[in-house]
């Protein structure tokens, strides 16, 4: 169970270097401000809170992935680059335990930040509006935040595990963040438009929704949204697409880090 030891050490380091409390405080401040300014209009006067949800979800859609890759890209590559990994691996700890432990330490940061942020934002909004935010909204936001956070942590950890220096891992992680969070929303359609000789076709091909769903952000929305009444997450009623979204998230959260780990276990420090 040496992964627990590594995870505990990781949490201790992130607490003492202010990564963990800093992330929590920053998330809580941003979500708190959104709740403060939009809460009365979004929840009061019989409104269902969709506007508040859209703003919080939109903020989360950028904030969580950016924070997750920033934290995770350095986790293994940074330790490998500066020699801390050589000290850790001098103990009877496997490389697998190191990666798993570091992954879990970053999960603690992201999940704590999401929980505190959503609680703070909805609490302040509810107090300001004099109306309690629907529990479904809180559950959806937390679920979406955690799934997106885990996906981007998986991407970040995989990059960090596969590369030897933080220069490369940082660049690639940032590119992954930009690509999957923003570019992926428009790239498949743009390519299709070019292939179709710049003519808008009346309906999209059947596979486009699957290509879209390969982005962790869209996959999260499609997995979470069918159970909710919120359209801000671009949900779908298509069960196949929802199942595909589950597979995609499983790929980013579990399979990709495992593939990177398998490579890491065979390479020199």
């Amino acid at each position: 169970m040496s992964w627990r030891l590594v995870a505990r050490q990781g949490v201790r380091e992130s607490w003492r270097n202010w990564e963990l409390p800093g992330t929590i405080i920053a998330f809580a401040l941003i979500f708190g401000l959104i709740g403060y300014w939009t809460g009365p209009a979004a929840l009061g006067s019989g409104n269902d809170g969709s506007a508040l949800f859209g703003l919080l979800a939109g903020t989360m859609l950028v904030l969580v992935p950016a924070t997750a890759v920033t934290i995770a890209h350095d986790d293994v590559a940074g330790r490998r680059e500066d020699g801390r990994l050589r000290l850790l691996l001098g103990q009877p700890i496997s490389r697998r335990s190191i990666v798993l432990g570091q992954y879990l330490a970053t999960v603690v940061t992201i999940v704590s930040a999401v929980l505190v942020a959503v609680s703070t934002g909805l609490f302040i909004a509810s107090v300001r509006a004099g109306e309690l935010a629907p529990p479904e909204m809180a559950a959806t936001l937390v679920g979406a935040g955690v799934l997106m956070g885990l996906s981007y942590l998986g991407i970040g950890i995989a990059i960090s595990t596969a590369l030897k220096t933080t220069n490369f891992s940082g660049t690639l992680a940032f590119a992954a963040f930009l690509g999957f969070t923003f570019v992926w929303q428009v790239l498949p359609r743009s390519l299709l438009w070019v292939v179709d000789r710049f003519v808008d076709v009346p309906s999209n091909p059947w596979w486009l929704v699957y290509v879209d769903t390969m982005s962790p952000v869209l996959a999260t929305g499609r997995l979470i949204a069918p159970g909710t009444s919120y359209e801000a997450l671009a949900g779908t009623d298509d069960v196949t697409v929802t199942a595909f979204a589950g597979v995609v998230l499983c790929w980013w959260i579990v399979v990709l880090p495992m593939l990177a780990l398998m490579r890491f276990e065979r390479t020199d420090l």
Partner: protein, 302 residues
Amino acid sequence: MPAIELDGVSKAFGNVVALRDLDLTVDSGEVFGFLGPNGAGKSTTIDLLIDYARPTHGDVTVLGHDVQSDPVAVRRKTGILPEGYRPMRETTGREHVEFAIEARNADADPDAVLERVGLAGEGKREASGYSKGMAQRLALGMALVDDPELLILDEPSTGLDPHGVRRMREIVSDAADRGATVFFSSHILEQVEAVADRVGILRDGELLTVDSIDGLRESVGVEGQLSITLDGLVDGAVDAVRALDGVTVVGVDGSTITVSCSDARKVAVVDAVRRDGATVVDFETDESSLEDLFVATTGETA
């Protein structure tokens, strides 16, 4: 059972060959010094022993375990002082030792470990603020937790002051006394000479020789010096010494004759002087040092 076995091990980094067909066996309970000029492949060899790097060809077995297939089993029984490490961030020296104790599931007192390596009273400080020598002591302390069967030390004296070097030597001797195997690389040849049962000399990724230091002296044939002080200079004594094979008179100072010869010829020199009727008042020998042997073997200084 050998503690360490390297069988036909080669390691290449791209086009650069760091080790070529290395065969080496270190017996259990042995103190083995690993020498070689910079870039000879010492650290690469150590990295292979602890699975920090993987061989391109060959097998590495440590304490009966194949290092590639079961590195954790090797590290459970091995204390490792690696090269090029850095302490964990935001973590005190004591917490480093506690980490090692927990990783090894050992029952050890962190303060006692810190005291053993000369860091008593420094345990509450963040280790990232330690000097290089203190960090080296800390890493050694982590390696010593639970009295491992094998100690692998890569340049253990790096950054240490003379007290630290002496303490390091004592620790190696203590480990040997309790039956542990010690495998270490070092540039401080006096230290290797003081504690090693055998040494291996590596150059350009090839193991040139493995022997005890006495065995090396014999096989390499590097000459030492012998100074004999007589009760009065007898001209015949100098001529008698000059007549001996393999002996060179390098100086005559009053009643003292200094000769250069192999260790094996020194008794013959004394016998020749006495046969000539001279009385030996005093004599002093200066053995070929490990540095001399190293230079003779590798053609380079350490």
